[in-house]
């Protein structure tokens, strides 16, 4: 299976036509476009959170005068119902209030900032590590390839979640940066494998041989001839890894080794509400829905990109 870039290179077609063609195919995929729109909207909401919801509502209620009443626009509003539970969804708190009287909607939006940032930087780190290791192993081959490949095998033989928990407990998790580091460290192996396999097949292609015959150095071959052909797999990996990272970050926070409260993350919101899921279901339901919708969107966009960038690839969705 050749990637479209290779096909383009072999036919001598100009490089930009492939991207234009890919964009057309992506646009034709309604589901992928819908996913992309949702993600754009989500990012706007996350960035604009301070303007969308009142800052006071997502912060700890201890800053307010009373635990069961908070001040909103100069009016006092109940956050605890008559039976002593936090209030459920109502006009004032569209998604209800949590156990500390904080607005769940505000926290979901502020949580989006944390979850998206962590997943995005974690993906970037995995990209750097995976690309580096994959290129080295595939291009240099020999002993270095063996060492890298065996190490990748070993890391992949440890269940992802266990590895992440282990790293979190050792690195004294809790800060956003540690979680990013963990996401990067457990995720790069997948990309490393993909890139290594791609490079191993690409380096035998005629155009690489031609470049070498023309006297191109390793650096030039890597950067000018191999890397552009890897953009497709990299973009797809990045998108799908965003989906995976959102899930993994929330799982870590849920297990209490991820982002630590009071910083809201979707996972630790669910963890905080878990014991009360049967009486105050809104505390766990809405952050979970946020995760679900976001991951679905990343998966839709990822699938769309894969179909658009590598039309021959498997799992083509007809929709």
């Amino acid at each position: 299976m050749t990637s479209p870039a290779v096909a383009g290179a072999e036919e001598g077609a100009p490089a930009f036509s492939m991207w234009r063609e890919a964009a057309r195919r992506f646009r034709a995929d309604r589901w992928a476009v819908a996913g992309l729109l949702f993600l754009v909207l989500l990012h706007l909401c996350a960035l604009g959170a301070p303007w969308i919801v009142e800052g006071a509502l997502h912060q700890s209620v201890f800053r307010q005068h009373m635990m069961d009443r908070v001040q909103v626009n100069g009016q006092m509003v109940d956050v605890v119902s008559d039976d002593g539970l936090p209030v459920g969804p109502n006009p004032r708190f569209p998604l209800g209030a949590d156990l500390l009287g904080r607005d769940v909607l505000s926290r979901v939006l502020y949580g989006a900032r944390v979850s998206l940032l962590v997943s995005c930087l974690g993906t970037l780190l995995a990209l750097v590590l995976g690309l580096g290791a994959g290129l080295l192993a595939g291009f240099r081959r020999g002993a270095l390839d063996m060492v890298i490949s065996r190490f990748v095998d070993a890391v992949m033989a440890i269940p992802v979640l266990l590895l992440a928990i282990a790293l979190a407990s050792v690195l004294r998790g809790g800060s956003v940066w540690v979680v990013i580091l963990i996401l990067g460290l457990v995720n790069w192996t997948y990309l490393a494998r993909i890139i290594r396999a791609e490079v191993l097949s690409l380096r035998e292609k005629d155009f690489v041989e031609a470049a070498r015959a023309l006297g191109a150095r390793d650096r030039a071959i890597l950067l000018r001839h191999l890397l552009p052909n890897l953009v497709g797999p990299i973009v797809v990996f990045a998108t799908l890894s965003m989906a995976g990272n959102i899930l993994l970050e929330s799982a870590l926070s849920f297990l209490g080794v991820g982002v630590r409260p009071p910083t809201p993350s979707w996972g630790n919101m669910i963890e905080e509400g878990m014991l009360f899921y049967n009486v105050a279901w809104w505390i766990t339901l809405f952050p979970g829905l946020a995760i679900l919708l976001t991951v679905v969107s990343f998966n839709l966009v990822g699938d769309g990109l894969r179909d658009a960038l590598a039309p021959g690839s498997r799992e083509r969705r007809v929709a």
């Binding site: 992949m156 033989a157 050792v170 669910i270 979970g288 679900l292 007809v318």
Partner: protein, 316 residues
Amino acid sequence: MTLYVVRRLLWSVVVLLIVSATTFVIFFAVPGNPAALIAGKYATRQTVAQIEKRLGLDQPKPVQYLRFVTRAARGDWGFSYVSQQPVLGAIGQAFPKTLSLTAGAVAVWLLIGIPLGILSALKPGSVWDRLGMMFALFGISAPAYWLGLVFLKLFADMLGWFPLGDYTEIGRAGVLSWAHHLVLPWVTLALLYAGWYARMTRAQVMDVAAMDYIRTAHAKGLPYRTVVGKHILRNAMLPLVTMLGMDVAYLFGGAVLTETVYGIPGIGGLAWRAIRMRDLPMVMGTVLFAALFIVAANLIVDLVTLLLDPRIQREG
């Protein structure tokens, strides 16, 4: 051939060694003295030193590691720092629970995922296909622990069809009660995999259905059923078998999230608690136990592929 098998076996051992070394190094960095942890708050320095000596913690780290590996190879996996239980014993107690969870989940996801994938692939673009793939997308995107909470709220709390959490032994409570307690965990865990399997099945069946020999089979007038059953499905299922092997092996290492939400005392929960308590022997035990299955599954998959497809000539 024999040489390849021997080589492949040796590599598996090497991978396991790297796994154990990685785990050891990760926890080697842990600050804090396990001996002090065991001795408790009010222990004298002598007691701590004694415990250190008993556990071999006074030795240099590489010696400690070598000792662990040689003992582990002989079947002595040590004792938990926290509960003083033998590690292998604790794993032996937890494994049947993980096995129960996995076995049921596998059955559920195969029953949902495979037919859904086949149906979608044979009628691409149809209502079935769209609904099926939407379901699959939901399955692979929903966080398992959240799904567990939603199921508990809906089916246990509101409808009262199933018990709230609690695990019962098959020997003690009987098959029906055991299954009744496990239905929600099974479905929760299975939904994720059902999604992946539906997508994989669909892709495989569509790939095979586009092959020339399928067109030939149609052209020579074979009934549709025969073409689908004998020519398409049989070939499309092979990669799924290897995938199943890997996934089952992976789950034998424990499903931390599902086990946590439903309070099932399996391997995943054991490993999680051990990691949080920094109970190094138990961490090593559970991680190696999980890795053992994954490495073995890899090995079996490679060897079976080699047997089935002599074209594959691996350089090892």
